[in-house]
Amino acid sequence: MRRENETSEKKSGRKARKSGKREEITNMEEKTYVDDIDRSVYDIKDEEHDAFRIEEGLTPEIVDQISKEKHDPEWMREFRQQSLKIYQELKVPDWGPSIKGLDMDHIATYVRPHSDMKNNWKNVPKDIKETFERLGIPQAERKSLAGVGAQYDSELVYHNVKDEVAAQGVVYLDMESALQGEYADMVHEYFMKLITPRDHKFAALHGAVWSGGSFVYVPKGVDVSIPLQSYFRLNAKGAGQFEHTLIIVDEGANLHFIEGCSAPKYNVANLHAGCVELFVKKNAKLRYSTIENWSKNMYNLNSKRALVEEGGTIEWVSGSFGSHVSYLYPMSILKGRGAKMEFTGVTFAAAGQNLDTGAKVVHAAPDTSSYMNTRSISKGGGISTFRSSVVVQKNATGTKSAVSCQSLMLDSESRSDTIPAMDVRTKEASIGHEAKIGSISDDAVFYLMSRGLTEEEARALIVSGFADNVSKELPMEYAVEMNNLIRLEMKGSIG
């Protein structure tokens, strides 16, 4: 019997794709890394396209200006312009937290703040400063974190790290330099081919105005001895709002990359639309750890995606603590036989926060596996939503997938929602899913109190323990920081 609710895919506005060559690239229709995988997986449906309209302030002229300042190669300038066009076509998502607070009509101001919006230390909110104090952030770092300081002298540390791994042949550059030098062609081959401007409105925005970020290339067989950390590369202007991270781990290599830090990152222009593209080649392994603690006025609309080839592994470790609104779903495409994905995450939504986080995975090859283990905590009116998708294509025989999500409600002001989805199209797959929601057990609190802890301390300890799925995967100093952060959040006095 005919399927009544299958509508035919209309790809509006897209010309026939060109085949193959990546060298002469000037238009958007070139092949991306995901074309051979069912595009409908993340095609935007017709209904999401707005009528064509011009965004106030974000004009092609402004984009050209950005391009010129960065000394972009011509293809990048073109790319930015195309992205801008796509940005103007796409609609703002309506299935998640409201982003009404973002001034979409004056989006240009997020990119080019007016001179009178210049930030200085006096204007940084008091609670941010207090948090720095409580977390023991060194003075020198505070201005940088608050987006008002000049280059932080962690540049020195960054250079030392860079030299150490350079000895192994690892390339670790800022994105803008990478575009110019000997890796320009490589960057060109990969840049926004995994997360394309068509994916959603803020990916398109990113494509148009991206700035800063890291480029990492790990050669074949290299096991990078120390974790690379992007924290050392904060710069004052823009404070990493639209930064682009591109990491390529070549065959058989191994890398651990850590992004973010527990200290809140503040910026008066409160939009973060970054992009992280990870390419894990045959039999390579990449662990990507993040602690995100954007300040509580921020809209964090991040896109992260990994493409994993045969025998490769991607491990995501993710702690989301900050921002006013978050949309964050690291996505993994398991493209080669035996590719593997592991996702371990914790999300803590406190007062005034609406954090919509989770993960997505596409099984596009045989014998692939995915494991998700997430915990979420809601407190003081915070809203936490776990949103996920596991898609198993017809050719992905032998797939194994297990998702486990747990939610902890700390009071009745808060909200916790779990919206996981599974779409399985082969019988030769084994898919399991479980979710639980509950509150802190009174018995556990009583037990700890009977050993001398105050109620507040007991709850904080229990919540830390609940978040240990992530803390035990992080390097020690990050785990310690994360637990400090939880403790402060539990005290309810973080800004």
């Binding site: 998708s389 599974m422 898919i431 399991g432």
Partner: protein, 302 residues
């Protein structure tokens, strides 16, 4: 004649559009007539045949006052496109048991909806058996309004050939200490497609509520498609909610157990394909319902 469309089975909290799981759209017409059947509490079970012509709408109303018990058994047959809406009001301390056995004809469409409001200490027990052979869209919306109101649902299905089964279950926990349990098990063969959306919503104030949802899908055909979204929404601290889903083919160990008793793979799959439905048959004490189920199974498996 322009083709009208109906959108049914919408998720209360939608997700990414590209998944195409937020709701179901089907061609439908509002031309057909409608009929309402009232069922009041009796001391004997009520048996209903639900059938109709083309695009007809049947409304079945089951209402109870306080401390009453009703058992209603519905069998579906003989229609091409039918919409059945069962509206249930479970009064204080009352118990309603509803059994729906759906074995529809090939090339038919059925929209089967149930809307229920359960008062204090009331309970709704729902048993649904879905055997195809047409497309079935089932939506069950249950509001547990009063304190200690409860909802138990057991669903069993077998989807074959190119049939579609699209389910949307929503349980809203309003009252304190309300309780819900949904178990949906079944098998997909050939090119069947099945969508299951299950939402447990703990509203603010539903202190002490408990909600549980489990789904087991046995995938037996080379071209089957299964979509599952088990959703938990929560605005109340002191609740306990869980859901679990298991999707896949007959596991190795179970298969070996069958084979060690001389039952080959194909035969084992046939036995397991109807297992969920047989199980529901055993839960029902009413012989007539068991007959409907066994006859239905015989017909669809021949």
């Amino acid at each position: 004649m322009s083709e009208m469309k109906r959108t049914v089975n919408a998720l209360p909290s939608k997700t990414w559009y590209w998944l195409k799981m937020n709701d179901a759209v089907l061609p439908w017409e509002e031309e057909g007539g409608s009929e309402t059947i009232q069922v009041e509490s009796k001391n004997v079970p009520v048996f209903l045949q639900v059938s109709g012509g083309n695009y007809e709408k049947k409304q079945i109303e089951i209402s109870t006052k306080e401390k009453e018990e009703v058992e209603v058994y519905m069998q579906y047959a003989d229609f091409s496109h039918l919409e059945a809406l069962t509206k249930i009001h479970v009064g204080k301390g009352s118990r309603v048991k509803l059994v729906q056995v759906m074995k529809t004809g090939k090339e038919t469409s059925l929209i089967n909806r149930i809307e229920t409001k359960v008062e204090e200490k009331g309970s709704l027990e729902l048993y649904q058996v879905m055997l195809g052979q047409g497309n079935i869209y089932g939506e069950t919306l249950t509001d547990l309004v009063g304190k200690e109101a409860s909802f138990d649902a057991d669903l069993g299905y077998l989807v074959q050939d190119e049939e579609l089964l699209d389910i949307n279950m929503v349980v809203n926990h309003f009252g304190e200490e309300t309780r819900s349990r949904i178990k949906a098990d079944g098998a997909l063969k050939d090119k069947a497609k099945k969508v299951f959306r299950g939402t447990i919503d703990f509203k603010k104030g539903s202190v002490g509520a408990e909600g549980e949802e489990t789904e087991t899908v046995l995938m037996l055909g080379d071209d089957v498609q299964n979509q599952t979204i088990p959703v938990i929404l929560c605005s109340e601290e002191t609740v306990a909610g869980s859901h679990g889903a298991t999707i896949g083919e007959l596991d190795e160990d179970t298969l070996f157990y069958f084979e060690s008793r001389g039952i080959g793979k194909k035969e084992a799959e046939d036995i397991m394909a109807r297992a969920a439905i047989d199980r529901i048959g055993r839960l029902l004490s009413e012989e007539k319902a068991q007959e409907w189920i066994q006859d239905g199974l015989k017909e669809v498996l021949s």
